[in-house]
């Protein structure tokens, strides 16, 4: 499940590359079909249930626009990565396998990745592919089952899928009920589409993780703090991450009342990156937001004093962005 967070980057990039190369038409079609199918499904909650669809969620919001943007964004990179990326992407028929392969290809060194990708992409019947396929099949089945159902099924699916990665389905996490509760509360208050995804982050001490729609983040944050059952009164951490195709702000909240924590992620585009400030809710967000603005260039509308904090005011660029080029190499 954790791969989900990482996936869109290479996936979309790969997609763009594929388009540029005009090799992965099949993949793209599959994806668009999926997106359409999803869009037409009334219960969008099913979206995050299966991996590829969950990737589509942001796209679903503005499928065409985003795809175009991603394409444009990736074009420059596509040029240099076209050869390998396109090759792998093109060889994929299944959208999901393509995503997985591309992610892994991206992650590993070029040669190793190529081999791996080839093996995985080609050998669906191979050992790894077999497991993958199994997990995927299970996921897909569950996704279908959950299409009409609400958050619970989806969450179970999420953990089931996480378990799938470890090759054996695992018992639900001890934090699963909490996640269910959060999702239920949020869905109740804001409707289903406010959550872009929700899952248990197995790597991070099984912390329930929610991905919240950017536009409604401030309302959700207010709710997270003030709702009796959630009552997240403490902001432990706030920072941004650059995933090349998007920026994410990561929040780690803790509720001293309920002794429970939650991780929240809000995504934003790289151009005019902006996430609503939560400084009015948690004063502790003040400097963290300034730091995020300083190093990643994410704007926080609503922040009372948003200016650079660690770097000098006349600094050029945002150093923690992956495409940051030092203004003055000599220094």
């Amino acid at each position: 499940m954790t791969e989900e967070n990482r996936k869109p980057t290479p996936e979309e990039k790969a997609k763009a590359a594929a388009e540029a190369m005009a090799k992965a038409r099949a993949a793209k079609e599959a994806k668009e079909a999926a997106a359409q199918a999803e869009a037409s499904t009334p219960a969008t909650e099913s979206a995050p249930a299966s991996k590829p669809v969950s990737e589509m969620t942001p796209e679903e919001k503005a499928a065409a626009k985003k795809a175009a943007a991603a394409e444009a964004l990736a074009k420059a990179k596509a040029a240099k990565e076209a050869a390998e990326q396109g090759e792998e992407a093109g060889s994929d028929a299944d959208a999901k396998a393509k995503a997985a392969a591309a992610a892994k290809a991206k992650a590993a060194a070029a040669a190793a990745a190529k081999a791996k990708a080839a093996r995985e992409a080609a050998g669906q019947g191979g050992d790894e592919g077999g497991d993958d396929a199994k997990a995927k099949a299970a996921a897909a089945a569950k996704a279908k089952a959950a299409a009409a159902a609400a958050a619970k099924a989806k969450a179970a699916q999420a953990s089931g899928e996480a378990g799938g990665e470890e090759e054996t389905p695992k018992a639900p996490s001890k934090n699963q009920p909490y996640l269910d509760k959060y999702v239920a509360r949020l869905t109740e208050a804001f409707g289903a589409d406010v959550l872009e995804a929700s899952y248990i982050n197995e790597l991070s001490k099984e912390v329930p993780t929610l991905v919240i729609q950017n536009e409604r983040w401030h309302d959700v944050a207010t709710f997270l703090k003030n709702d009796e059952q959630l009552a997240f009164d403490y902001l432990s951490d706030l920072h941004g991450v650059d995933y090349e195709d998007r920026l994410e702000v990561y929040y780690h909240f803790y509720s001293y009342k309920n002794q429970q924590s939650v991780a929240v992620k809000v995504k934003t585009g790289r151009e005019q990156a902006s996430v609503a400030s939560v400084m009015d809710l948690w004063q502790g967000a003040n400097w963290n937001e300034r730091e995020t603005f300083d190093l990643l260039g994410i704007h926080f509308p609503g922040h009372s004093d948003l200016r650079r904090i660690l770097l000098p005011d006349d600094w050029v660029g945002y150093p923690l962005r992956k495409d940051y080029v030092q203004y003055d190499e000599e220094v």
């Binding site: 954790t2 791969e3 967070n5 990482r6 992610a103 892994k104 991206k106 992650a107 590993a108 982050n201 197995e202 790597l203 991070s204 001490k205 912390v207 009164d233 403490y234 902001l235 432990s236 951490d237 920072h239 991450v241 650059d242 990561y250 780690h252 001293y256 002794q259 991780a263 948690w282 004063q283 502790g284 967000a285 003040n286 400097w287 963290n288 730091e291 190093l295 200016r307 650079r308 904090i309 660690l310 770097l311 000098p312 005011d313 150093p319 923690l320």
Partner: protein, 382 residues
């Protein structure tokens, strides 16, 4: 930097016709009591602070950016330099994050060594705080007594890992060195020595009326404010929140030892002073037990892959450093280098409340309040 956002107010009293003017005072970055290169622009009316704006970043080294091009093992020496007064906890939080992601088993002996090192470091850190806090308040002696005893801890570290402050002691999956022969005994002796010394510290300072009257009721805030400002560690506990990650979210092997979490309710500098002193006692208590139960043999480095590659994904862990809650966020792509590494630094977060606390205080209180927050600029600026 942005001094123009503070404007001073000139006014002529209607009664006396005397013209009064507010004044901007630039405290730092080179000031004896800012504990490093920290700067405060304060607007003062006489000696009363109307507004304070902290300016930092003079020690910013871009650790998080550097880390993106370093392997996990290579990052460890950099963490020593963040909170240089308490390097062991920084070492640990990074290793802990990576180990959590990889699901590594840490050998028993390594766990003990880590815990002992961290607790010794906590004592050392609180000693530095005690000394510098009193130095800020004008007493020179305690600083030297504290440093004499801290020196003993640093010598122990020097024997353990070959460095006094930049330890680079912990590794993913364990620690670099086993305890040298006789080290455990020496540490036991130190713990007994420190217990006695602590009493004499109280004799020297804790009863001093001048000292007590200076910090009484200064820098006061309540529980709600503390949570709102994301305060942690002693800053949080001084308002009555009984919260210590060692107890509440046990990591390492803290759940095996008996210790109390000192909690106060005053929320002022006095409470924080007493809490830190009490924490030293608790640390010594943990150390005593840990040294007693120290396993006689065993590996100190677990089975780890030759190249550390946490699975793709992200993790955020937090532990209790002497200054509060230190967190480490790793976003990994499955490579041997982190995609994004972020430290949640307690000094940085705790410092946020400073402008609020300073309002209406005098310059002398400013020093006391800043001292009681216990910041390390290497960590604030990261």
């Amino acid at each position: 930097m942005n001094q123009n956002i503070l404007t001073t107010h000139v006014e002529t009293s209607s009664d006396t016709g005397i013209r009064t003017e507010e004044m901007l005072l630039n405290v730092g970055p080179q000031h004896p009591s800012t504990h490093g290169v920290f700067r405060l622009v304060v607007k003062i009316d006489g000696e009363t602070i109307k507004e304070a704006i902290p300016v930092m970043g003079y020690l910013h080294r871009g650790t998080e950016k550097l880390a993106e091009n370093l392997t996990y093992t290579q990052i460890i020496p950099y963490t020593d330099r963040m909170d240089y007064v308490s390097g062991m906890t920084n070492n640990y939080v990074l290793c802990h994050a990576v180990e959590t992601m990889m699901g590594l088993e840490i050998p028993e002996r390594a766990q003990f060594l880590r815990l002992i090192a961290m607790e010794l470091n906590r004592v050392a850190s609180h000693l530095v705080w005690w000394g510098t806090f009193l130095l800020d308040l004008g007493a020179m002696g305690p600083f030297l007594y504290a440093f004499r005893d801290r020196e003993k801890i640093l010598d122990l570290f020097n024997e353990l890992c070959g460095a006094r402050m930049t330890f680079n002691y912990m590794r993913i999956g364990g620690v670099k060195w086993d305890a040298p022969p006789g080290w455990i005994e020496k540490t036991k002796e130190f713990v007994q020595y420190m217990k006695k010394e602590l009493d004499s510290y109280h004799q020297l300072v804790t009863g001093n009326e001048i000292f007590l009257s200076r910090i009484e009721g200064i820098g006061k805030f309540d529980e709600k404010t503390a949570l709102d400002y994301s305060l942690s560690g002693v800053m949080l506990r001084s308002t009555g929140v009984n919260w210590d990650l060692r107890k509440n979210e046990p990591y390492c092997i803290y759940d095996r030892f008996e210790f109390d979490v000192p909690t106060g309710t005053g929320g002022d500098c006095t409470t924080r002073y007493h809490l830190r002193m009490a924490e030293v006692v608790q640390s010594l208590r943990i150390l005593e037990q840990a040294l007693e139960q120290f396993p006689s043999e065993g590996e100190v480095l677990g089975k780890v892959p030759r190249v550390i590659r946490p699975p793709a994904g992200e993790a955020y862990v937090r532990i209790e450093s002497p200054r509060g809650e230190i967190g480490c966020y790793i976003s990994s792509t499955g490579k041997d280098k982190p995609w994004r590494l972020k430290f949640r630094r307690p000094s940085f977060t705790n410092l946020q409340i400073l402008p609020k606390l300073l309002e209406g205080q005098s310059i002398s209180n400013m020093i006391a309040i800043l001292g009681s927050i216990d910041i390390v600029l290497g960590e604030v600026d990261c």
